[in-house]
Amino acid sequence: MKARAVKGVRKNITVCPDCDLLLEVSPPRPGYKITCPRCGCILAAPVKDSVEKTMALSLTGLFLFPPAIFLPLLTLDILGLESTGSIYASAKAMVESGFWFTGIAVFVTSILVPFIKLLLLFLVSLQVRLGRSDASTVFMFKTYSRLDEWGMLEVYMIGILVTIIKLLHMAKIEYDMGFFCFIGLLSATLLSSSFLDENYYWNEIHIQLKKKKASKKQGTLLNKRVLKELKSGG
C-alpha cells in the first residue's frame, strides 16, 4: 500500500519523516506496509498482537541472555591444550590486553545495549499491555529507539562464524552451550524487534497517558466537591 500525496488539508494527515511529504494515510490492516510514494520510507507496518508477541520474545531473550553471554561459546583444542571463550570474556580480554577503548566498544555493542534493549522492550510492552503507561514508559521507549542501532548481536554472530573458519584448520573446535544459547538470544532479539509496531505502541501510550490525566483531574474535582460538602455540612 502506498500513501497518497494530498493537496488540501484533511483528516489522517501525516508527514513523511524522511522526505517531508504531506500525506494522507488510512489506518492500515495488519500485515500490510504503508510506504511513502516519493521516497519509499515505511510509514506504518502494523503487526497483529504486536504487544503480546514482543513481550513474549523479549522475555525469552532476557532468560537466554546470561547463558548466551557468560557461558563459553567454543572450546578450542590445540594438541591437547584446551581453551574456551565467551562473549563476556572477549570484551574482558580486549580491555585486559590494554585496548580499553576497543574493549568498551565491544562490551557496549554486544552486551550492554542488547541487554538494555531487551529489558526496556519487555518493561514497555508490559506497561502497555497492563494499560499502565506513564512518563517512564515514554522515556524507556524513546531510549529503546535511540539504542536500536547500537546493539550488534547479529554482527557478532557473523564474527563467531568468521572466527570458526579462521581457526578451523589449526585446532579442533567444539561448540558449547553458550553458542546455542547465543543463537536463541539472537533469534529472540531479531524477532522481538520485527514484531514491534512502533506506531501502535506510541498511540497506545498516548491514549493511556491521556486517560490517566483525565482520571487524575476527576479525582481532584471529586475531592474538592467532597471538601465543599464537608465544609457546608459542618
Binding site: A5, V6, V9, I13, T14, V15, C16, P17, D18, C19, D20, L21, L22, R38, C39, G40, L43, L74, L76, I78, L81, S83, T84, G85, S86, A89, S90, A91, K92, A93, M94, S97, F99, F101, T102, A105, V106, T109, V138, F141, K142, S145, R146, E149, W150, M152, V155, Y156, I158, G159, I160, V162, T163, I165, K166, L167, E198, W202, I205, H206
Partner: protein, 225 residues
Amino acid sequence: MGDKGKTERPKTGLEAGLMVCHECHKVVGIPSDGSSADCPRCASKVHPRKPNSLMHSWALVITSLILLFPANLLPIMKVEYMGAAEYSTIMDGIIYFFKEGSYGIGIIILVASILVPVFKIIGIMMILISIHFRIDSWLEHKTLMFRFIKFIGRWSMLDIFVIALLTALVDFGFLSTIAAAPAAPFFCGVVIATMLAAEVFDTRLIWDFPNDTICHHCHMNSDKK
C-alpha cells in the same frame, strides 16, 4: 521562477506548517516563529529540520576520514607464536584468506572492513556536497543510498568482534596468543563516527528543493507574501 514552467509538485510538511517528531513520528504544528516545539506525545523537542545537521554530519564524516588512515595502515592484530610476534593489517588478513583459498570469508571481511567504511564515507560526502550545490536530481537514489549506508553501518564492527573473540580463545601462553594491535581503536572510531554521521543527518534536506524559498542554513521558510 517562471510560473509557466512550474510543474505542480506535492506539498511538503514545511509548506503546510507541520513537522514530524523524530522520536515518535507524531505530526506537530510548526510554531509561528518557526522554532522547535515539545512533542505532545513523547515530550522530546521537535524541529522542522534537525538543527545544524549538515555541520554535524560534515564534522563526523571528516573525523572518520582522518581515522580511516591509521585504521587501515597500522596493524590491527598481533599473533604471537612461540614467542615471536607477528603484526598484520586488515589487508594482510584478507590476503591471507585469499591465499588460503577461503574466498568466501575473504570477501566478507574485505566488504565489511574496507569497502563498507570507504563507501559510507564517500556516500555521505556525496550527499552532503550535492546538498551544498543544491543538486535536485537523483533524489530517490540519494535517499536509497543513505538508507543503505545506515543499514550497513554496524557491519564494520565485524573485524573487531573477531579479534576480541580470538583474543579470548587463542590464549595458550607461550605457545600462541592473539591480541589486538594499535589500529583497533582507530577502526572502532571510524565505525562509531560514521554511524553518528548518518544518525545526525536529516534526510529531508535531500528533498528540500533548491528553488524553494527555504533558507539554506536555518531551514526556515522565508516566503512571506
